[in-house]
Structure formats: structure tokens, C-alpha cells
């Protein structure tokens, strides 16, 4: 067997690590370990000179395994793997010890932090000792794209990809395109008609030669991996169509919050308490009226319904403040003599043209009343006979500090955006994650906001988080651009840290087969062994843990690698501090 020659590099990350961890002591300690040829510390390992340090050492000292103790591998593992490759070493002969996010940034005692850092580095050295070179596999990209969701985001992405000459399959679970945008009358802050915008796009889409449209269609399970996905569509729950595609855009949109659970508002019991989507419908029909068909004299708009409240959703739904202002503009035009009340928690006028819109709207004889939505929501009750209105809204007005009663004939609840009930099914089908019951999680919240942790799957529009139409379109077109870039490359590298079966040991018990979430394992009757389809395998390792014979090996996370990492971690404890 080839002699193991390990290089260890401890990063200061400027002061980020070096202040809390004695990097010099860490690298010195590692020099004592068997097979460690070189151990150094350096200001910024991820910088060009830092990487060159590794590359030169690999060449000069014939290193064949590298450990970098620095930030999280989720940030720079790929950077360093590339550096290994540049030095002619297999990129998988590398392991990172996370001594920033999981040591220097979270601990306060330098001596303890240093000891912990040392133990993590020994663990990494032990693990890398058993690393094996893995061959990169690249696969060709099928230029077709599947887009799930026919709202403004899905449509915008579809048009961009299709215009470039590539095939798009657009799947919409309802019978109608346009999503929530199609239910909106005017848009804020410029009061353009949403209908006109979306109709134009829908017309183009329907007639586009590169777009194949599937309405009333459900996605159940998607198989494959970036570049080579496939699925069977169920149209109208009967007809089945098989599709192959290389990338997926998830644009499943939002669901509006159901306010009937908020007792204070009496939604569902009081007929003239309606949601913002119900009010949009009124606007679209051009008739603003109470249940009894009367013109409302007093309209109250309540903000943050289901948003920014720990009992419902803690997040801000971002669009409701401006939509509410839009309503008061439209109401003012339609009902010049009515009383309009904005009952708000904080007025959030982010984005281009919005603050101006707020200023304009506030000049239109609209009453703004503030409530403390963390402590006490406004209460809506039926008005008395003498009151000369349908409803009374009780508010503890925050700015004046006074309890006020506001007359109302119509109350509009600005309901929040939330994830679809079916979002979870789609997440499972395509293999992406959600933040609890909320929205889909992007690959990186700042640096990679449209990609997901599954290669080839992108999330756009409100399924990723509350946003307005221009933000949805930007995200959709960003994802489309990402996909076009991959299509242009023609091929992409896929996961190589897959599982494989040692046929010499596999006894054919078949325990592993139904364990695999990707049906990547099948049974070879003739050889009496299980077989992993390494293209379908996503490397979770669950089969390896289920295998009672030790025949399944999970590359890069083998028993030997992990057991030896445990030994390393435990070789230095805090006791001596």
C-alpha cells in the first residue's frame, strides 16, 4: 500500500479563528502524529496564496492527503478540493475540520477551544487516512426543463428558457394559468393591471412551439439526477405521460392564510369580514359591497393577519402593506365619500416606488391606526342597533395609547402568504427541503438564493418565501439563466460519494432494497446479490447502515473512516485543561 503522507493546514481566518484558537499550538500538535508530513498555519487558507501553499507542498513533499482546519466544509470544501485537483491529487483525498463555525465562533475559553480544535483536527486526519480516490463522473444534460407551477414565476421562467430554443414542460395542477397574479386586479405601486400583464404572457406561452403545457396535472415522484430526470405525469388523474428532462424549476407558489382560526376577527362568522383575496375578487368584478348588497360607508383594512405573530407565522409576508394601500387608493376612487381605515402594525414600504406610494396614499383622507400585534389584536364584533354600521372594530391604538372603536361595514383582512399544503409532497418528489412547515430552503440564503441542495432543482417565486411580482419574476428568470448556462455546458459532474455493494460479501438478504428512498437498489437474482444503481444513488448512506453484512460501503463515509474519526476526536479531551 502507498505510504500515507498527510499535510495539515490550520487557518487563522484573520482573527476569526486565531483569536479564540491557538492555531500555532494546533499545527504543532499535529506534527507529532504518524503520517503527518507537514503541519502549518496560515492567515487565510482559502485565499490564493493559501491555496498555493497547499499546492506547492503537495508537489514538493509528495503529499497524498490533505486536512484543512478552517471554516465549515459547507463553505470551502469545494474550494480546497479544487486546489487538490490543481496539484494533481484526487480531490477526495481531503477532509476539513470545522474550527470556525463550530469552535472559535461559539466558544469563549481559548484553552478549551484550542483543545477542541485539536481533537477535531485529529479526527479529520484519522478520517482522511482512510480516504480513497473517487472518480468524478460527468453526465450529459438533457436540455429540456420541467417547470412545476403555472403562476407568474413559472410562466416567466418558461418563456425565457423556451425563447432560447430549449424545450419546456410546464405542469400546472389546476386547469388555469396565472396563479395568484390572475386573481389580482391592480398591482402596487404603479397600479398597472395584473390581468393585462399576465394575459400577455399566457398568450405567448400557449402559442410557444417549445413549451408543452400540462394542465390539471399532478407530479408524484421524480426519478433521476441533474441532467437526467424523469417522471410520469398524471393528467386529470387518469392519462399518463412520461417525460425526461435535465433541470427542474419549482414554482408552486403560495397559499393564502386562513384567518378563521383568529378568534378576534370572527372571520367565517361575521359575513362582512373578508380576506384580501376575496376583496380582490370584488375589485375584479367592479363591485365593492357588503353581503347585503349595500355600498359600505366604512371600510376597515386590518394588516398582518397571520403574519409577524408567534401564534401564526413569525415572518412578514412583505406584500400586504402595499396591497392594503392599493386598496385604499382603489376604494377612494370607487367610494369617494367612504371612511377608510388602515389598521396596521408597522407600515413596511420597502422597494422601489413604495415609500412614495405610501406618501401619496396617506394624502387621500385615509385614517391610519396602529395596533400592537405582539400583544393585542384588534377585536371585531357585531355593531348594535344604534350604531349605524354593521361592525365595530375595537383597537388599543398604539400611538395615542387610547382604546378606540371604529365603525365598519366591511373589514378586509390582509392575510399572510404561507406554503402550500402540497408543498411537502413536491419537496419529497424533487428532493428539496423545507424550513419546518414553511417555505422551501434555498442552497444558500445569500449567495445561492435560487438553487437548492439538490443539483438541477431550482426554487422561484413565493414557494421560496413571500415576495411580490417583480421579485418573483427576477428569481424565475435568474433560475432560467442558471439552467441555460448548464444546458450550454452540455454536461455536469454528479455525486460520486455513492454506495456500492461488495458482491463477495453480500448474502442476498435484501434488507437494503426497500430502505433506499430512490429505488436505486435492485436484486440480481442470478448472482444473489443486491446492486446499487450509482446514478440514482444520492449518497445518503442509509442502506449502508441497514446492511447487516457490511457488504454495502458508503463511499467517503465508510465504517472505517467514521470509526477512525471517532477515535481521533476522542484522543484529546477537555479534562486536562
Amino acid at each position: 500500500m502507498e505510504e500515507k503522507r498527510i499535510g495539515v493546514y490550520v487557518c487563522w481566518c484573520g482573527n476569526n479563528i486565531a483569536l479564540m484558537v491557538d492555531v500555532e499550538a494546533v499545527s504543532e500538535e499535529m506534527k507529532k502524529l504518524p503520517n503527518v508530513v507537514i503541519a502549518k498555519n496560515y492567515k487565510y487558507m482559502c485565499s490564493d496564496p493559501g491555496q498555493d501553499l497547499i499546492i506547492n507542498d503537495i508537489k514538493e513533499h509528495n503529499l497524498n492527503r490533505i486536512v484543512v482546519a478552517a471554516c465549515s466544509p459547507r463553505i470551502h470544501e469545494l474550494t480546497f478540493r479544487k486546489a487538490l485537483e490543481n496539484a494533481g491529487l484526487n480531490p477526495y483525498m481531503f477532509e476539513m475540520a470545522n474550527i470556525r463555525e463550530q469552535v472559535s465562533w461559539v466558544h469563549t475559553n481559548r484553552e478549551e477551544a484550542t483543545r477542541k480544535a485539536k481533537s477535531l483536527v485529529v479526527g479529520a486526519i484519522n478520517k482522511v487516512s482512510f480516504h480513497e480516490p473517487l472518480d468524478k463522473r460527468s453526465v450529459d444534460i438533457d436540455p429540456a426543463t420541467l417547470i412545476i407551477g403555472g403562476g407568474i414565476s413559472g410562466i416567466s421562467a418558461a418563456l425565457l428558457i423556451a425563447d432560447s430554443g430549449n424545450k419546456v414542460y410546464l405542469v400546472e395542477k389546476t386547469g388555469k394559468l396565472g396563479g395568484h397574479t390572475a386573481n389580482v386586479d391592480l398591482t402596487f405601486p404603479y397600479l398597472y393591471s395584473a390581468q393585462q400583464m399576465i394575459d400577455f404572457k399566457i398568450k405567448r406561452l400557449i402559442n410557444h412551439p417549445n413549451i408543452e403545457l400540462f394542465l390539471d396535472t399532478q407530479i408524484e415522484e421524480i426519478f433521476g439526477y441533474v441532467g437526467n430526470f424523469e417522471t410520469t405525469l398524471k393528467i386529470n388523474t387518469a392519462e399518463k405521460v412520461e417525460l425526461k428532462f435535465g433541470n427542474i424549476i419549482v414554482a408552486t407558489g403560495l397559499k393564502t392564510f386562513d384567518p378563521s382560526g383568529i378568534e378576534e376577527y370572527g372571520y367565517g362568522k361575521l359575513p362582512d369580514v373578508i380576506t384580501s383575496s376575496e376583496f380582490e375578487k370584488m375589485l375584479l368584478h367592479g363591485k365593492v359591497q357588503t353581503k347585503e348588497g349595500k355600498v359600505p360607508k366604512n371600510v376597515v383594512i386590518i394588516h398582518c393577519v397571520g403574519s409577524r405573530n408567534k401564534n401564526y407565522h413569525e415572518y412578514c409576508s412583505r406584500t400586504c402593506c402595499m396591497t392594503a394601500l392599493k386598496y385604499s387608493n382603489q376604494l377612494r376612487s370607487a367610494l369617494p365619500h367612504s371612511n377608510i381605515f388602515q389598521v396596521y402594525a408597522d407600515m413596511r414600504a420597502f422597494g422601489k416606488g413604495c415609500e412614495e406610494f405610501y406618501t401619496q396614499s396617506s394624502r387621500k383622507d385615509i385614517m391610519f391606526l396602529m395596533f400592537d400585534q405582539q400583544n393585542e389584536l384588534p377585536k371585531i364584533r357585531e355593531a348594535g342597533k344604534k350604531d349605524n354600521c354593521n361592525l365595530i372594530v375595537e383597537i388599543n391604538e398604539k400611538l395615542s395609547g387610547e382604546p378606540i372603536e371604529v365603525p365598519a361595514d366591511l373589514v378586509i383582512l390582509m392575510t399572510s402568504m404561507e406554503a402550500h399544503e402540497e408543498a411537502k409532497n413536491i419537496a419529497h418528489a424533487v428532493g428539496i427541503s423545507m424550513c419546518g412547515n414553511d417555505f422551501y430552503i434555498e442552497k444558500h440564503p445569500k449567495l445561492d438564493p435560487v438553487a437548492t441542495t439538490t443539483d438541477g432543482v431550482y426554487i422561484v417565486g413565493t414557494c421560496q418565501g413571500p415576495k411580490d411580482i417583480p421579485d418573483s419574476i427576477s428569481q424565475a428568470e435568474a433560475a432560467a439563466a442558471r439552467i441555460l448556462a448548464i444546458i450550454l455546458q452540455g454536461s455536469v459532474h454528479v455525486e460520486v460519494t455513492t454506495a456500492f455493494v461488495n458482491e463477495e460479501v453480500c448474502c442476498g438478504c435484501q434488507t437494503c432494497i426497500c430502505v433506499c428512498p430512490y429505488t436505486a437498489i435492485s436484486f440480481d437474482e442470478e448472482k444473489n446479490v443486491s446492486v446499487v444503481n450509482e446514478i440514482l444513488c444520492k449518497g445518503c448512506g442509509t442502506c449502508g447502515s441497514a446492511c447487516p453484512t457490511g457488504a454495502i460501503r458508503c463511499r467517503h463515509f465508510t465504517d472505517k473512516q467514521i470509526l477512525s474519526q471517532i477515535e481521533g476526536l476522542m484522543s484529546i479531551t477537555l479534562e486536562e485543561v
Binding site: N98, T497, C540, G541, I562, L563
Partner: protein
Amino acid sequence: MDFKPTIVSFLCNWCSYTGADLAGTSRMKYAPNIRIIRVMCSGRIEPTFILKAFREGADGVLICGCHPGDCHYHEGNYKCLRRFHLIQKYIQQMGINKDRLRLDWVSASEGKQFAELADEMTETIKELGPCEVKNTMEKLDKIC
């Protein structure tokens, strides 16, 4: 001298490890006793690893995965849950307090929860005192 336990923690890459990273990015402070091993999925965590950690001197073992229903690989965390219950029964038979092995769900956005969990687990183990597995083994080895 104060007892300073060592806790080996196995975290799945997608939720819990990211959550632990978030605790760091948010500069939350927690006890330095937790040593993290990253696996792709909690479904990869084998009883062998847990026993090995105790054998090597861990005073506690903490396993974290994605919340039920949120596994990046669909159901790996349920496999982990099943194994956890059986192995917990086994270690009790072997004279190891069941609270030395803990399974919890930590999502990618739960940095705070991870930091709190790390502190909580450290406290639990401090109360339980050192785990005697390694000592017992060392005594055993001395006979020979």
C-alpha cells in the same frame, strides 16, 4: 477538578450540521464539550458508531437529524429514530444510562436550538458524571 465531559455528536449534513453552523455564524455561545461528526444523513448513523464513541471514552452521544417529514433523503431520519430506540434499550442493559444517548431534530434554521441543545446535553451529562465504559475496558485490559 470540575468534570468536563466529552460528547460525540453525529449530525446530518443538510439540517443539523447547517443548524450548528448557523449557531456559529450567529455567534451564539455554547459549551465546548460537543464534538461534531458530519454524515450526509442521520440514516447513516449506525449503532456501531455510537458504541464506538462510548468505547473511546465519550460521556454522551448526541444524534441530530432533520425534523420528521423534512429529511433531505425523505425518510433517513425515521430509520435513525428506529435504530435509536433499540440501541437505547441495549445500552441500558449494558449499564449505560439512557440519557447519555440523545436524539433530537434540528433544522437548518435552528442555530439557537442547537446551541441550547448542546448546553442542555452537557448539563445532563455533567449531572450523570463520567461514563465508565472506557475505564472498565482499561481495567479489563490490565488483567492480560
